[in-house]
Symmetry: C2
Subunit: 317 residues, 2 copies
DNA sequence: ACCGTTGATACCTTGCGGATATGAATGATC
DNA sequence: GATCATTCATATCCGCAAGGTATCAACGGT
């Protein structure tokens, strides 16, 4: 049939991103003429011109922009399909759970216990990652299910909220602001967050573009991390040095009382909602079992919300 | 690279659906040996066996089942991408709005008026269809935006609820039940709905499989429609004949008072929510304009909810 | 006016996808 | 239990389309 081919989409995305046939061809590891011809063939099949080209510059048409979005999605979906199939073909496929270390609202042990009591419960493989990596891992087939903070990019995912809890500002005990009992985000001007972004605004929310870099502050902070710190111990180290602050869910702050660090509420710091998420077309019984377990634990936890969290018995250290 | 090809996925889906290489090859319009070889090549690339085959029967492995879901999605996404690109390449691309005739909650005229006042508002092209066709039209690239009833299959879509309104049972004035002022679904046992499904249960909800047939009743009704009636006039004809009942949103019943038909509330008939929906990766300004218009109209309408709907001035007939 | 850049064209080569012929294995039949 | 039919796999050939090289043509900057 007159079907689009994956190769054509790959080529198209390369040219659309480079806006230069020569560079795109180099990126694809091929010569320029066959690339030009392949794009022409794609345009012929679609009956649509995708690029306006002169010998000096190449621009996307409106149709090209539309196709670019879809083509990226399709290519990602194909790669994800391959990954998922490969995983499912392993002799004993595990349930790959993506989460950010310690950001599980303290529910993880109970969720895992409830999960293991389910019928179809293959062993769980943890996939630890930084903020915003969980949804990506679900989409590209590296994970089967995730515990993540919403809002996030929910495209292609099913998301079930579990619990909402406030976040606190973690700052050095030596910080002047530590003397105050409550803060506002504006008070944090000049300080940075562990990922390098400025701390006086809360950029929580779905990441818009895929190739997004963390915005840089104009004035250089005293401490610059080469890579964004994702490990909590690294983060605490940075905070103790001053100049860096972090917004941490209450469950994390309760678990990590540290001498050099204080936690303060901030009025305009939005609470974070923990959710369980999975790919929309997943019909895996293991995923279903995990989701059941997670929602059951969260529901039983909600009834305890009336008593203060200190009153809850800690089962283990 | 070791990338999957669309052709391989098409072949795989055909074999997975037929579970027979010969028939699958016939369906694909090709000979059986190259099909077998192509599947083997796919398995080699994935490093996974997708089918257990003996000379007498072919079965899907677990990995095959996983890939089948993803492959169907990918193929649909590619076809949709092609359709969308073709449409976007037309000289004056229109905004294609999918909806079910008359099931617009009476909002459509005002939504269209508000939409036309927006900045980027290309002409609207209506795409009328039966229940459950709207989400499909969005997914496969035939429509850019839709007004539809939730719950529906929201996979790949963004959905914004507009208004919720009760549904009423439409039945023949000659029906014994017409004497009662209120019904329950159980009272409707034995009657059928216009699509042929039994009327004593409400199968509202997301359709599970793609190739689902409407369930047949065991006892044959007096009137059998060859195709499911989707046109309201056809539906009314059937209802007048008795034996058929329909669940219609209040906005429809208000617009169509008919002598031979009465509308009765049913206690356990869930209300229907009208929503505006669009493909998740759509960044079209026209779609954004339409969604803004629809939500604005719905919001302004919500304030009038306190007064009974009869009190609302009817602008046109 | 000249030169460099860049996409298009022409032509050749090759690898892969498809067809035909045939083999091998398995279940059914008498 | 020998035979046959069914069905997937293998062997081999062929044609086309994807990729490479050489070259042209158009446009911009100096």
């Amino acid at each position: 049939m007159n079907d689009l081919e994956v190769r054509q989409l790959r080529y198209f995305v390369a040219v659309a991103e480079e806006l230069h046939f020569g560079r795109a061809a180099a990126r694809l590891g091929m010569a320029q003429p066959p690339l030009s011809r392949s794009i022409r063939e794609l345009e012929r099949r679609l009956g649509v011109t995708l690029f306006e080209r002169t010998t000096r510059q190449v621009t996307l048409t409106a149709a090209g922009e539309v196709l670019l979005r879809d083509a990226r999605d399709v290519l990602a979906a194909i790669a994800a399909a391959a990954r998922r199939a490969r995983h499912a073909g392993r002799p004993a496929p595990r349930l790959r759970l993506a989460l950010k270390a310690d950001h599980d609202g303290g529910l993880l042990p109970r969720i895992l216990a409830a999960y293991r009591r389910e019928e179809a419960a293959p062993p769980v493989e943890l996939l630890l990652g930084g903020r915003g990596e969980q949804d990506q891992a679900l989409r590209d087939g590296r994970a089967d299910v995730a515990l993540l903070a919403v809002p996030c990019d929910e495209r292609g995912l099913d998301v079930e909220p579990l619990l909402t809890e406030p976040r606190l500002v973690a700052l050095s005990a030596a910080d002047p602001l530590a003397a105050r009992s409550s803060l506002r985000l504006a008070d944090l001007a000049g300080r940075t967050r562990p990922d390098g972004s400025p701390a006086d605004r809360d950029d929580l929310g779905p990441p818009v573009g895929s190739g997004e870099r963390p915005p840089k502050t104009d004035r250089e902070p005293a401490v610059v991390t080469h890579r964004a710190a994702s490990d909590l111990t690294q983060i605490f180290k940075l905070i103790e040095l001053g100049d860096t602050v972090a917004f941490l869910p209450a469950c994390v702050t309760r678990r990590y009382p540290r001498p050099g660090i204080v936690y303060r509420p901030a009025d305009d710091l939005l609470p974070v909602t923990l959710a369980v998420a999975w790919p929309q077309n997943s019909h895996s019984p293991a995923v279903a079992a995990f989701v059941r377990a997670a929602t059951a634990v969260a529901a039983s936890d909600e009834q305890d919300t009336t008593m203060p969290p200190e009153a809850v018995t800690r089962s283990s250290g």
